[in-house]
Point group: C2
Chain length 229, copies 2
């Protein structure tokens, strides 16, 4: 599903150049449960943003679901994301003027034109699965940190995307709630063949993935298979 | 240092009332390392906001560093916070138009009028202690999640406050970086007698505190002493 070769990303701030990713190469199969781990600042979010076509590589090759990411213009990029990607942002990125329900429903309205009764059913199921049904009519500034995180999770999953990019999806969750989220994702992988790519510091997620890629200072320094997952 | 009796907080959203905190009572001694834990939505952030006088109780009594929180007006509240509190916000709350250095320096300029060479030394020491010296001239939108979190930590500690309220201070940090932050806080407690109150889901912090208060659905349901801490 994903193929990266000598992928690099350089951020320029004035005179200073930051080599956020250096020569990264890897392949990811469909229907996998994969995680990138590594120290704060090692490049995990940067890599997820490239895979999700939210940003362009500086050099190297990146193919995701058949698309060559470097060649997509803004319009093609938005179309590609709408058709293929569910993104759980590290800072949630909820729309402040929409309620919980409306935030989760958004991809179904904007991107996929799903009929009203189907939307209601799908949004309801996801709110239930992550335990936020009671927050349905609230706005983001009325939610706890972990509630906002779960709205972000539900929104990323509602359109049943081929590929879910989950950046620290359990950082603000207690043990039990984190496992509600992880179990939901495992069910989606089993039922729909969804591919999940995590960036995380959470050992609970690390324990569940099949393949663990470790980043350090922008480099991919190791890849491990988890035999028990 | 802190005394709470029958503390309650009700949020009103239109017709709906949410009882975020229900009849909470506890005492906290100076120079302690305390944490509140509990499920997402159980009231931890709400409680920290009351203790830090960022919000008012609905009913009950709350005294912090000699001040009766319910009786402070806006001006007294701001003065109280400036004199006593360092707050690490769950969503960081950095000022977007200030660099890392300027964000950390801010309390020393705005609140305490510390001379320039002393500010430079203090800000430098804290950036070093949490590993973000290289991010000194960057703006928040150029930082990784864990780097933003560490700027928030450094800013809360820079004025050597009597009381630090730390809401999920390690949620976005890897193991090693989280311990840099925890060790810095332990040093401050030993050296200056700083009181630290955490709200967290992180077992690494839980393992280090002397007293653990558990919240559930707005109630304080248990208090445990950690003999090994
Ligand atoms: N401004 C508000 N208006 C209405 N309800 C609110 C408001 N702020 C918080 N709440 C609700 O109060 C409850 C407690 O919220 P709080 O943020 O204190 O939880 P928390 O324990 O910090 O959770 P988390 O671990 O997810 O950060 C939640 O159910 C939340 O939805
Ligand atoms: N827009 C930008 N401009 C300049 N530097 C940036 C920008 N975005 C990220 N960086 C830098 O690139 C490096 C990698 O950032 P990234 O967000 O990918 O790290 P991360 O592994 O996700 O970290 P964390 O675990 O803290 O979330 C960091 O040093 C960061 O400061
Ligand atoms: Mg990140
Ligand atoms: Mg909270």
């Amino acid at each position: 599903l994903i193929s990266a070769e000598n992928l690099s990303k350089v951020y320029k701030t004035g005179e200073v150049e930051i080599n956020a990713l250096k020569d990264i190469s890897f392949e990811i199969e469909p229907a996998s449960f994969i995680s990138f781990v590594g120290p704060s600042g090692s490049g995990k979010t940067t890599l997820l943003n490239l895979i999700g076509s939210l940003d362009k590589p500086t050099s190297g090759f990146l193919q995701v679901a058949g698309a060559n990411i470097s060649t997509l213009d803004r319009k093609q990029s938005a179309r590609f994301r709408g058709d293929n990607i569910g993104f759980i942002f590290q800072d949630f990125n909820l729309i402040p003027v929409l309620t919980t329900y409306e935030n989760i429903e958004y991809p179904l309205l904007m991107v996929q034109e799903v009929p009203s009764d189907q939307r209601k059913k799908k949004v309801g199921e996801l709110m239930e699965a992550v335990g936020i049904t009671e927050q349905s009519d609230k706005y983001p500034d009325q939610l706890s940190g972990g509630q906002k995180q779960r709205v972000a999770v539900a929104r990323a999953l509602v359109s049943n995307p081929k590929l879910v990019l989950a950046d620290e999806p359990t950082a603000n969750l207690d043990h039990a709630t984190a496992y509600m989220v992880i179990d939901l994702m495992k069910r989606m992988k089993d039922e729909f063949g969804t591919t999940f790519i995590f960036s995380t510091h959470d050992q609970k997620i690390v324990g569940e993935v099949e393949i663990l890629h470790t980043l350090e200072d922008g480099r991919l320094i190791s890849t491990e298979m988890n035999k028990e997952a």
